[in-house]
Amino acid sequence: MIDQPQNDQFRPRGSVDASSALLPYRGPWSPRLAAHLLRRAGFGGSPAEIGAAASAGMNAAVDGLLDPRPDTLPSSPQGDLTYLPMAPPEQRRDAYLRAVSWWLDRMLQTPNPLIERMTYFWHNHFTSGVQGGITPAMMVVQNRLFRANALGNYAYLTHQVARDPAMLLYLNGNQNRSQHPNENFARELMELFSMGVGNYTEQDVRESARAFTGWIVPRDGASSSFVARFHDAGSKTFLGHTGAFAGDDVIDVIMGQPATAQFMARKFLRNFVYDDPEQELVDATAGRFADAKYDVAALLDTLLRSNVFYSDRAYRSIVKSPVDLVVGALRTIGVTTSTPRVIGAMNGMDQVLMRPPNVAGWPGGSQWLNQGTILARLNFLNQLVSFRAASPVTQMQAMPGMAGPLAWIAGVSQTDASAVAARVLDLTVQSDVTDEQRQSIVGFLTTDGVGNPVELNGENIDEKVRGAMSLAMALPAYQLE
C-alpha cells in the first residue's frame, strides 16, 4: 500500500466510528488525494488543476470548490430548443444535441466544478427527461434551476421542483386536477425525492396528491401556473397533520420528517463517499444535514473535508458514470468543447443525459458495467487519444483544445520509456497500477506489434504515446473514481 496517514484515519473495516468519520481529515496530502477530490467534487481535474489543488492543501482546495467564482459561460444553449408535438425527428434531435452539448461544455469549461457536479446530482435525483411534450428547452429551464440551487437549500429546491414545467409534465402534475387527482408526482416525491418507501401510507399518497392539484403548464412550456379552480381546497390529512393543504404545505411536512434527512444523507454518501454506507455513518450525516436545515454547501463542506472521504474505503470505490468517464478524459487531454460524437459515444455507454431511463434515475454501480458498455468505453477512449485530423478511419471530429502526445509528456525525456510510462500512468490513473501493468506499458513502448524491440524516437513517439494513453485508459482503475 502507499504511504498512509497514521492518525485520524477512519477505518471502516473495523467497527464504524461515525463521529470520527466526519471529522476533518488531517493526514498527508498528495496529488493522488487531490485528484480524488477533483473526481468526486467535479468531473476530474486537468493536470494543472490537480497540481494546484495538491499545492494548495486540502482545506484551501475545498474552500475553492465551495466558493463560486464568476461564471461567464453561456447560461442557455444557442437557438430555439422548443418544438411542436409533430416536429420531425431531425429537429428534435438537433434541439436535444444542442442542449446536451451546452451542458457538457459547461462541465468542461466551468470555473466551478462542484456546481456542475451538483447540477448533475440533482438531475439524477429530481429526474425528468426529454419525451413526449417535454422539450430540450424545458430540460434547460430545469437544468438552470438545479444550477442556481446546486449548493443551496434542498428544501427550497424541492418546492421549486414541484412547479417546474418539465417535472409537471414528467410526473403528470399538469393532469392532477381536483376532479381527477393524479398521484404520480406525490408518490415519487415521497418514494424517490425525499423519504423513501416505508415512511408513508397509500392514504398519504392520495391526500398529498389532492394538495398538489391545480398546477398547469401552458402550451409554450416555458413556465407553469396555478389555477385555483383546478385545485382541491378541501381539508387533507397527511402524515398526521390536517389542514387545507397546498403542495407547499405537504413539502413542509415532508421536510420535518427524520426519514427525509436519512434518505438524502444516504444519497449524498452514495454519490460522494461510497455506495454502501454504514447506518451509523448515515445517521451521523443525516444529523449534520438536519442541523444545517438542509443547507447543501454546509453538508458538502463536512463531507469533502472528512476522514471518511479520504479513507481507503472511499478511494476508487465508485464506478465512473459515462459522463464522469467522458468529461474526465476530455479534461485530462485538454479538450474544452464537446461534439455530437461524444454524446453518441455516451449513448453507447448507456447514458443519455437529459433522458434518464426512468424516474428512479441511473442506478449506477455495477449497472454501468457490461460487455457492451465496456467495449463502448474503451473504444471511445482509444478513438479519443488516437485522433489525428488526417486519419480517415476515426469517427471522431476535431476536438478543440486537444493537446497532442508531446504535450501530455512535456518535460519527460522522449527516449526514456520508463519515464514516459510513468507520466502516462500518472496522468490517467495517478499510478494506481500493479507492477505488471506498468511493465506492460513499458513493454508496449519498447516493442512492436510482434514483440520485436523498438527504441522510442522522434519517429514513433507520437504513435507510442497515443497507444500508451489508450492502454492506460483501459486499466480497470480508470473505470473507478
Partner: protein, 407 residues
C-alpha cells in the same frame, strides 16, 4: 455489490491455441447436436423480438369483422378486402404475408389481449416493465438475465445470452452473467493497432492483491473487460463455419437474425437472444410506416426460419415478440395513434401449437379509450420458461403465473 462471474478466460497470449480448441469444440458440439433429437431441451433456445416503440395491435391483427374497428379507424384502417383473414372476425395485416404463411403451417401462435395491471404509457418505463417483468418495482435485472443466472448453465460459456444491437437491453441484465451486445460482427471488436492489442490483455491481468488500492468493483471491472475481449476476439472465428442457406433481406432486423442463426448453427450454447425492430411509435402517418416495419418483421422472420429449417434447427428455436404497449383504439388527427395498452404477441417456431389464443379485446368496452387486457404478459413468459426452457417460472418471475397452452 454483486460479484459477477467467477472464472478465468483464456488470454490473448494463448489466442492461437484457444482458437484451434474452440473450433474443434464447436465442430464436436455440432456433430453431437445432430445425433440428438431436435428440440431436446438442452438444444433449445429462445429469440425475443422487441417491436420497439409501441406496435399498434389493431392494425397488426385486424378485427375486420367488427364494424366498430372501421368507426374508430376511419382513415388508417386495413380494408376488409386486404386483410389476410384468419377467420371471419380477425386477420393479419397484408404486409404480414410471410408470417401468415408460417401461421398457415401451424408455426405461429397469436396471443391476444396481453398486457399488465396499472399500465403506464411511457416508452421507457413500459419497455422496462416488459424487460424486467416487474410492473410494480424498479428492478436492476432483466427476466432473461435472471433465467441465465439461475438455470444452471455452464459457467464458462461467454455466450449464454446474446443481444443483437449496440446496447445491452434490460431484459438481459444479470447479476452473474455478462451478456455480450453485438451490433454486427465487424463492430464487435476493440479498437487499437496490433501493438496495442498485443499488450491490452496483459494490462487486464493485474493481480488484485497487488494494486495500491482496494475497490469493491475492481474485480468486476476486470472480469467484464476480459469477457468482452475474449468474446469479441473469439466470436468471428467461432461462427466462421456457418453459411446462410437463404438470402436474408438487407434490413437491419433480418441481418440481426442472420447473426442469430450463425450463432445458433455454430452451437455456442446460447439460450436467449434479443433482437429489436422499430420504431413503431406511429403518432402520425401510421399506415406507411407500420406497414413497412411489419413487412420487414415478417420477411425477416420467414428468412430466419427457412434458414434454420435448411440447417435442421427450426424445431429448436422459439421466437417471441413483445412491444411496450399497443396503441390507442381511436386514431388521432394526424392519421396516427397515441400510446395505448393491450396488444397481441406472436410466438413462432419451436414447439409452438399454432393458432389464436384469447379473444380479441372489445373495441367498445374501453379503459379511458384503451383496450382492456385479459392476459398478463408474465403468464406468457411463464409458459415459455416452463414449457420451452424447462425451468420453474417462479425462479425468474418471483410469483407464479398461470401457464397458457400454446407450447
Amino acid at each position: 455489490m454483486s460479484s459477477r462471474r467467477q472464472f478465468i478466460v483464456q488470454g490473448i497470449g494463448a489466442f492461437g491455441g484457444a482458437l484451434a480448441v474452440d473450433s474443434i469444440f464447436a465442430r464436436a458440439a455440432r456433430a453431437a447436436s445432430q445425433v440428438t433429437k431436435a428440440g431436446a431441451v438442452a438444444n433449445r433456445c429462445l429469440v425475443v423480438v422487441n417491436l420497439q416503440g409501441g406496435n399498434d395491435g389493431l392494425n397488426t391483427i385486424v378485427p375486420h369483422g367488427d364494424p366498430a374497428y372501421y368507426n374508430v379507424r376511419p382513415t388508417i384502417n386495413v380494408a376488409q378486402s386486404d386483410v389476410l383473414a384468419i377467420d371471419s372476425s380477425i386477420g393479419m395485416n397484408p404486409k404480414l404475408a410471410s408470417l401468415k404463411a408460417l401461421y398457415d403451417r401451424q408455426r405461429v401462435a397469436v396471443l391476444q389481449g396481453v398486457h399488465y395491471p396499472n399500465y403506464v404509457l411511457s416508452h421507457f418505463r413500459g419497455t422496462e416493465i416488459w424487460q424486467t417483468a416487474a410492473p410494480e418495482s424498479y428492478d436492476t435485472t432483466g427476466w432473461a438475465g435472471r433465467y441465465l443466472d439461475k438455470a444452471g448453465l455452464p459457467a464458462d460459456n461467454l455466450f449464454k445470452g446474446v443481444a443483437i444491437g449496440p446496447l445491452l437491453p434490460k431484459m438481459l441484465v444479470a447479476d452473474k452473467t455478462d451478456v455480450p451486445a453485438i451490433g454486427d460482427l465487424r463492430g464487435f471488436r476493440f479498437n487499437g493497432r496490433a501493438d496495442e492489442q498485443a499488450q491490452a490483455d496483459r494490462i487486464l491481468m493485474g493481480d488484485g492483491d497487488r494494486y495500491p488500492f482496494d475497490s469493491p468493483y475492481l474485480q468486476l471491472v476486470q472480469e467484464v473487460e476480459r469477457d468482452a475481449r475474449a468474446a469479441s476476439s473469439k466470436l468471428p472465428h467461432l461462427v466462421a463455419g456457418y453459411k446462410p442457406a437463404v438470402a436474408y433481406p438487407k434490413t437491419p432486423f433480418a441481418q440481426g437474425l442472420n447473426l442469430v442463426s450463425a450463432i445458433i448453427n455454430s452451437d455456442l450454447g446460447t439460450k436467449v437472444f434479443y433482437v429489436s425492430i422499430g420504431s413503431f411509435d406511429t403518432h402520425a402517418a401510421q399506415r406507411p410506416r407500420q406497414d413497412a416495419l411489419l413487412e420487414q418483421f415478417g420477411d425477416g422472420l420467414k428468412a430466419f426460419y427457412d434458414d434454420l429449417a435448411a440447417h435442421n434447427a427450426d424445431d429448436r428455436v422459439l421466437t417471441m415478440t413483445f412491444s411496450e404497449f399497443g396503441r390507442r383504439v381511436e386514431e388521432n388527427a394526424n392519421r396516427g395513434t397515441d400510446h395505448g395498452t393491450a396488444a397481441p404477441m406472436f410466438v413462432v417456431g419451436g414447439g409452438v401449437k399454432g393458432g389464436v389464443y384469447g379473444d380479441h379485446p372489445s373495441l367498445t368496452d374501453l379503459d379511458y379509450g384503451n383496450l382492456k387486457w385479459h392476459t398478463d404478459f408474465r403468464s406468457v413468459y411463464a409458459t415459455v420458461l416452463e414449457g420451452w426452457l424447462d425451468v420453474p417460472a417462479s425462479m425468474v418471475l418471483g410469483d407464479s403465473f398461470t401457464s397458457l397452452n400454446f407450447i
